[in-house]
Amino acid sequence: MSFGLVPLIAALNVRAAEVAQAGDAGESALRGLFGGSPWAAIPSAIVGFILIFAVAGGLPVILVWAERRGAGRIQQRPGPNRVGPFGLFQTIADGFKLMVKEDIIPARASRALFMLAPGIVLAGVLGAFAMLPLSKNAILVDTDLGVFLIFALLSLGVIGVVIAGWASNNKWSILGAMREAAQMVSYEIPLGICVLVAVMHYGTLNLREMCAMQAGGFAGIENWLICQYIPFGAITFVIMYVALLANTKRAPFDLPEAESELVSGFHTEYSGIRFSFFFLEEYAAMFLVSGVIVCTHLGGWNLPFVSGEFMTGSLVGQILSALVVITKALFLVWVMIWVRWTLPRIRIDQVMNLCYKYLTPISFVCLLAVTLWKPFWGWLGLM
């Protein structure tokens, strides 16, 4: 399974990028474990890769279960409830089924690319997990590039999807891939601008530092970006969340795989383990982007009325902060699930309209407002 190596290579590259910045101490617990020399990059990349794979492979089990149970609740039916307690092992059973299924490659597909595509899609998301901080030291790659690298790696996914659509030699697949490409590229504009607002505000690209800077203030939430620049911080949160919904191909932006229009879109021809890679990627990406927006806008590991020193200082605080980040991210994932089972799907031209006529201009206004915020209030003598 050659494509299994791709995430590993990605993780190694990410690690190498970090090592290249000699002299930067970093806060990663891995660095503490293996020391800061360039030679430590290899063992820590392997450990990091295993950790990521465990987390990103285990998370979808929970998330798929939550999605199916949540959908069941919303639709007045029980959902999976037979395999294990509350049906928790249903996903594992399904995953096993997918693994032992015949791996079908269409006769006239482009074999190599068809096999490579799921690996690329998964590699991007798994690589991006390395920069997501769960607490002050629980971050695999503590680099200055942080959020930039996350979105760079996430956009690898679009390449994988386009390759999957083209290599399948199926007209529905290629239509899905084209939709994905158009949608992803468009929504990265408002998304990028919202991230830029966050970067401008904090003066860093590192998500861990962003989290640390959101501690303290009135009621412990004053410094969260969502409460800053009222109302522009909150607006960028909404825009970023919508853009991330589109980036992760979640309803109502699930056009690339719109099952009622394009059969299954870009993964129509995929089955078995390769299909499960797309499946894994979707849920891992949902959690990842929710984690990112938690770190940029929702205070990261900070809780209201709890001091930042407590969360970063002690081991208890660090464990608590990991729980806080995960809980906040899971809540946002739940909102995605909720939206998916409530709303119809938008049409492709409406997707583009929403992006270019509304989200992009509004996010530019937010960028401008945040840029001029301090000079303006200073000019009025209020700050």
Binding site: Q76, S260, E261, L262
Partner: protein, 390 residues
């Protein structure tokens, strides 16, 4: 060179340097949104459809020919199987044609029960149309909400005839058996509950912003065009034409009950768009509960239990004649034309199916729309392929 300056043109068409090839896509017969085995060959320029050609006949079962070789009573179960979502209505349509040819009297109680079944089946059918339309547009949840109420109707039918989909309950001369005790009360209870649930559908899907954006001004069919293509039923009324056989040519006792005929008013966009057709169905469901209530009251008030079969010989032989009866099926005018020759089988049976006539418009409607709109349009016509192909 034209007014466009340096852009090369032929006539008024701009000739682009880069010519992209149109893509021919085969939508169906195995496609999730063609509601069965409809096949539409679409030529698309990117997402825009340039031409579309529907092909039908994948589940043709020669129902009409079979009708010429089996007795009238034996053909009733076959009528269940063309529009399997409105089997009661099909039974009634065929039986009324036979009764008209044979001059059979139907006792009032049987007629009232037929009307109740007809309207309940209309609700069940429209609920499925509502649910699948949600799925076509990417909202899965309304489908299961619709099924929840449809389930109740099916169990009501199960109580009177033992079947949940293929009823064969209505027979020439009456209905198969009388309703069980307490059945009328349950029908009334259903009507009350259903009207409450209907408001949920309204909030969840009908007034949903995305849903409206997807359906308004999409697939607009002006009234003249709808008439030209022989549209009937909710599709025709969605285009603003007030034509409902229950009102225009009252059959059974539809002239004794009061109800409104909802028509498309272009509430969200243009008259005759997908939203109008959809909304006509939604409002028809409320009217159907209204009719059902009146029928139940009249049936209890005016008739005695047990009088459900008229005076019919065991084997029906009809003297040479011909008869046409059209009834308002959930999808439009379902007509049965029977030519008899004195034997116990029909000499000729012709069925005029609403889905078959309604679907013929696709070739004219689809070009110029987007692929996603094609799904919305096919869904809004609400076809049942079993009846298109028969």
């Amino acid at each position: 060179m034209s007014q466009l300056g340096d852009v090369p043109t032929v006539g008024n068409e701009v000739v682009l340097d880069v010519r992209t090839q149109d893509m021919e896509i085969n939508m169906g017969p195995q496609h999730p949104s063609t509601h069965g085995v409809l096949r539409v060959v679409i030529t698309a320029d990117g997402e825009i459809i340039t031409s579309a050609r529907p092909y039908v006949g994948y589940i043709h079962r020669c129902a009409e020919k079979i009708g010429e070789s089996v007795t009238y009573e034996m053909f009733v179960p076959y009528t269940d199987r063309y529009d399997y979502l409105a089997a009661m209505n099909n039974n009634i349509g065929f039986c009324m044609a036979v009764e008209k040819a044979a001059d059979l009297e139907v006792p009032p109680r049987a007629v009232w029960i037929r009307m109740i079944c007809s309207e309940l089946n209309r609700i069940a059918s429209h609920l499925l149309a509502f649910g699948t339309y949600g799925i076509d547009l990417g909202a899965f949840t309304p489908f299961l909400y619709g099924f929840r109420e449809r389930e109740w109707i099916l169990s009501l039918f199960e109580k009177i005839c033992g079947a949940r989909l293929m009823y064969s309950y209505v027979f020439p001369g009456g209905v198969a058996n009388d309703v069980p005790d307490g059945w009328f009360d349950e029908v009334l209870e259903f009507c009350d509950v259903f009207e409450k649930k209907w408001r949920d559908y309204d909030k969840l899907l009908t007034r949903n912003k995305i849903f409206i954006e997807r359906t308004k001004n999409v697939g607009v069919v002006p009234p003249e065009m709808a008439r030209e293509y022989g549209w009937t039923g909710p599709c025709l009324r969605g285009s603003g034409v007030r034509y409902d056989l229950r009102e225009a040519q009252p059959y059974m006792y539809y002239d004794q009950v009061s109800f409104d005929v909802p028509v498309g008013r272009g509430e969200m966009g243009t008259v005759g768009d997908c939203w109008d057709r959809y909304n006509v169905r939604m409002e028809e469901m409320l009217q159907a509960t209204r009719i059902t209530r009146q029928c139940v009251q009249a049936c209890i008030r005016d008739t005695n239990p047990g009088e459900i079969q008229g005076d019919k010989p065991k084997t029906l032989k009809v003297k040479p004649t011909e008869a046409y009866v059209g009834i308002e099926n959930p999808r439009g005018e379902l007509g049965h034309f029977i030519v008899t020759d004195g034997k116990d089988t029909a000499y000729r049976l012709k069925v005029r199916g609403p889905s078959f006539c309604n679907i013929s418009i696709l070739e004219a409607m689809l070009p110029g729309t987007m692929l996603a709109d094609a799904v919305a349009i096919i869904g809004s016509i609400d076809i049942v392929l079993g009846e298109v192909d028969r």
